[in-house]
Structures are given as C-alpha cells and as structure tokens.
Symmetry: C2
Subunit: 354 residues, 2 copies
C-alpha cells in the first residue's frame, strides 16, 4: 500500500492515456478531477491486489460516453458518488474498495475521485489492461461476472439503474441512457469480491501507468526517444512515424467514430498509415496491410514529447508515432477475441498478434 | 369493495378502450391477459377510493410503448410483477394496493394482472381519466408527485430503474429504455400514498369503464345507437360519422404516430375529418377546422357495433363515429394545458373546450 498524492497524478494520467489506446478520456481533465478530489479530501491509498481481502466489496467507477463530448461537458464529480451509492443501494452492501475498469486518461483518474470522496482505498488493477469502447468488453465478462447491478448518473441528479439478462444488454441500455444524459455519464458497475478482482482483473495497472508516464517524461527531458521508452515498458514496438494528414470523425451511436490518415516520415516504416477508431484505436493498416488490431494496443504518441494523443485530439499536422503492443493474453483466447476481436467490430481480417 | 371476476372484464375492457381515445392498448389482448391472471389466481377485489387507507402504499403498473408493437409482441405478465417488485426494492416498502395510471384497453386491464399475481386489491381510479402518450402526463404530476422511483421490465428479465430530476426526464429515459426493449415494456411508477391517490387521481374510472362497456353492448344488442349510449356516459357528443379513407402511420421515437382521414356519411356533421394521433387521438379537424383536441377526449367507435377503434386498428373502409367528450377539469387548468394541451404536442391552435 502506498499513498497517492496530487504530485503522482501527472505521470499516472499520462501513462494511462497511453494504455487507453486513443480512448478512455482526456488525461488532462482526468488529472484535474483527481487532483481536485485529493486536494479536498487528502491522499488516496493505492493497494496491491495481494493486499485485498477475498471478501472485499469492490465497486468500480468510470465515465461512459463519447470522449469528444467530455472535453466540453466536464464531469463535476458528484455524479460518480451518486452512481456508486446507487449500486450500494441495489446490492444492499457498502463498498470497501474501488477500482478502475479500464486504463485511460480519464478512466484511470476517475476512481481517485470516488476513492477520495468516499474514503475508499483504490486497488492497483483494472479490468482490461487497456481501454475498450463497450462496457461488456471487460476481462471479468470472460469470467462470467455480471456487469449489473449497475447505475448511471448525470449532473442533473438523474440515476438510471440496470439489472440485465447479460452484459451486452447492459451495454445497450447503458448506451441509450448515456445518450439521453448528453453522451457522457458517470457509471458504477461490475461489483466484484476481492477474490474475483484477483482472478479476473489485470494486476498492477495503476503502477504500470505511473512507470510509463514517468519514463516518457524523463526521456523527453533528457532529449532521448520517449516513444521508445514507452514501447519498451509496453513490450511493444513503433510501427509508424509520420504526420497526420486527414481525420474523419463523427459522434454516432454515442461513440466518437472515425479514421485518421498519416503520411510517413520514417521511410523504413512505410509511407502511409490509416487508423480507424471507435473511441479507441481499433485497426492500423500500413500501406494497405493491417499491421495491428484489437485486442492488441495501438497507441498514438506525439513524436517529440511522447505525450499520448487521444482520438479526440487528432488533428491535421500533428507529428506522431504509433506503437503496437500486445494485449493481456486472456484477450487472445477464442472467447476474448469473440468479445473484443476485429470480427466483433465488423472487420473481416484474421487477428495476427503483435 | 366488490370482486371482479373474469366475466366482468369484457365490458370493462371495452369501456376502457373508449376512454383510451385510440391509445392505451388493445382491449382484446388486455382482457385476455387479465382473464388468464384471474383464472389462475382468483378474482380481484376492486375497492372504492374512499375505502383506501391514507397510509396505503399504492404502486401502479402499466405497459409503455407503441401499441402497434404490442399487437405482435404480447406481454407475458411476469414482466409486470418484475417491474412492481423492482420499485418495492427501490423504496424499501411493499405495495398494499395497485392502480391503473391511465384508462385504456390494455392499461386498465394490466393492473388486474399485477393485482391477481401479487394478491393486491385494485383501486377504482386512474391517473388521467383517459390515456395520454407520455408518462409525465398524469394528474399527480400537477400535484407535484414524482414519477420515480420507477422501473421498466421486459420479457428477457432486464430491469431498468430510474430516479430522475423531474417527470419529463423520467419520460426521456423510460422511452429510450422502452425502445431498446423492443418498443414495449412493463412499467411501475408514481408510487402514491392512499391520501395522494384520493387527492390527485380520477375516482371511479374502472366502474365508469364497466358502465360504458355495458351500455355499448346492450345498445348494440337492442339495435339502438351504441355510439349515442357511450357519448351520454362520457357527457360528450358525436362530432362526425363517416368512412375511413386514408391512414398514414409510422412507429417513430417509440410511439405510433399518424393521421386518419374520414369521409362524411352524415351530411349535417360535415364532409371530411382528419384525426392526428400519437398513440392517442390528439386533434380532430372537420372540414379544415379544429373541433376537438387534447386534453379533451376524441374517441373513434365502430358505427354499427359501438366497439372502440384504437389507432393501431384504423384501416381503410371502417365505418366509424367520432365522439368528443370533456376531460377531467384539472386538465383544463393552465398547468394542465401546459402538460398535455395542444401546444405541448406542437399544435398552434388555441384550446377550445368541448
């Protein structure tokens, strides 16, 4: 266990946005929200997964919706505690811990807000080892854990609670409620026991985020290659270096969807790359050939500074590098690929692991 | 208090469909559902509103959605108890009674299903004195009563619960959940104390339905005018008699919306009538002039048999008569007109009471 203070947040948010693969929300806004909560309520204990009692009641929190919208409709924080407390009411138990369901600039920071406001310790883990756009795409789903009882809350005080037949139904109802809430909502879902967290979540994600964020910062300060530093910690490699020459985007079905096109600036890595995204980067094709795809990680970083570039920040002229990195091995099982592989997203190529 | 048996249902369902002004669901399906529940569990006590204790916990039940869909996707009944029990869980209290929120072929019968299955007495009342398409359009809304905590349930076992900032937000979230459920859902909402039922609901609606249904049946059997018999009990008058020559309809935003055109067959009542509907009949224009509109009742009856014709049953060639009848006086207040007057539905004519 260690206490996370406001000064630890910038590295952690930066690293989380790298693991967020374009989605998971903006690291700047995420960090500000967590910082405000810690300034108000004090530091948050981050506990190792091994320290978690098997009978702990772990209630995760997150934001759901289109990240493009969250840039302008900034969460207040009170929605989050509203969502978590609605779940407590549904299950008739109080949370002993909270945890992040996905790694992402906002969704790794948001649990600090809930933890600080409610005085809960945060578990050093997450449910994906990355970010994914739909709520059933969690490793606990592969373990048969129900996403519901879940609750969504907005800044007006509206609470929508769900108990659904399966996790895809939870996604359907939650998505339509999120759209009514203005395309962003605080959510609390996937109530887990300590034992289930140990079995089904990814261990040490928050610490990994912090290490990645620190490595990028230190490499950039030392005028070394921050992209290479991040790729090393991700066990991945740089698959493209170039300039953003086109972005198509729209907010459809409650998601930020679109495609980015890069022109190559490093000849040996190809001359053109297209990256399609649905909140997160899904598929990267280099000179017409798919070179990385979900469930593996496709991370876009600013070439000079190593700062992660979320899909909503993509704009003409950016000089970026693209890292491809392996996902948690459980995503590569047949069940994992069915849940979040290229076929689920409508692509017909066969998944080739990075 | 009197016991309602299966043999009492046909008259009551027929009369309810008249008050349903085209909406509120199909009386045949509604009656079959109620009959099945009474056959299985025994008769249902219908109690006068005066017999209701002030501290009663009254939890209404209904079906929400597009009646056109309910003709093909027939409710099973178990959704209803699921919705009511979800509300009980939210409020931490058990229902002592149930009641209808609106008069309608299905929505006056549905509470018998909940009452029979859960062993609850049914209160002889409803929340509108007619049917309206949106869930905030209840007299209790005028009294400041919250529609939520509410719950929606479907045949798959999905439950969506709501606590909202106001009743229009309840409508928004409930409508989008209903659409995800396939455009029809069992709902339970507007938890009322016995005292609130007495103050804010319409007294004696179920008995009035039964009287209207019996009068129509008896007039038709005696080869008298069943339309006139219904109009008498509604304090209304026949405003048109004709043949249906056109129906435009669509299922949009979770509602059955459209317009019917009638050619006159009784010269003194005009030569053409257009009736626009959103689940319920909203506005009747005779030879281009609005002659009746919400919140007053516009009821379409088969001219020969007096059987009520719901909007989803409208089809070319039907010989029908149109009754206009006054609504509950509370709907004619400025607040009532704001909630369910022609302006709310996008019409710019001034409301002229029938």
């Amino acid at each position: 266990m260690r206490e996370i203070e406001a000064k630890n947040l910038p590295d952690m948010a930066r690293g989380a946005a790298v693991l967020g693969t374009g989605g998971g929300g903006d690291p700047y806004i995420g960090r500000l929200l967590a910082q405000q909560a810690i300034d108000r309520h004090g530091s948050v204990p981050l506990i190792d997964i091994e320290e978690l009692p098997d009978d702990a009641v772990v209630i995760p929190t997150a934001f759901m919706g289109a990240p493009t919208v969250m840039l302008e409709k900034i969460p207040s924080g009170s929605e989050l505690t509203g969502a978590l407390q609605a779940v407590e009411h549904l299950i008739g138990k109080q949370a002993t811990h909270t945890v992040s369901i996905e790694a992402g600039g906002m969704n790794s920071m948001i649990p600090f807000v809930a933890a600080a406001e409610l005085g809960l310790p945060l578990v050093d883990a997450d449910g994906m080892g990355r970010a994914f756009p739909e709520l059933q795409m969690l490793l606990p789903t592969l373990g048969g854990i129900a996403a519901t009882p879940m609750a969504l809350a907005d800044e007006r005080g509206n609470i929508v609670s769900l108990r659904t037949a399966d996790n895809k139904w939870a996604e359907r109802f939650a998505r339509s409620a999120t759209i009514e809430m203005g395309c962003s909502a605080a959510v609390s879902l996937y109530v887990l026991s300590g034992k289930q967290v140990k079995e089904f979540m990814v261990h040490g994600t928050m610490s990994l985020c912090q290490r990645i964020g620190a490595a990028i910062r230190e490499s950039a300060q030392a005028h070394l290659d921050p992209v290479a530093a991040a790729a090393d910690l991700l066990d991945g490699r740089c698959i493209f270096r170039g300039k953003l020459v086109d972005v198509k985007r729209g907010t459809a079905g409650g998601f930020a969807r679109g495609e980015a096109v890069l022109d190559g600036l490093a000849g040996d890595l190809g001359s053109r790359m297209g990256i399609s995204f649905q909140n997160e980067n899904l598929v990267a094709a280099r000179d017409g050939v798919v070179v990385a795809s979900v469930p593996d990680l496709i991370c876009i970083l600013d070439t000079d500074t190593g700062e992660p570039v979320t899909t909503e920040m993509l704009r003409y002229g950016l000089r970026v590098s693209v890292i491809a990195a392996p996902c948690d091995p459980r995503w590569r099982s047949p069940q994992g690929l069915e849940l979040a592989g290229p076929g689920y997203f409508g692509y017909d190529h066969t998944y080739v692991p990075v």
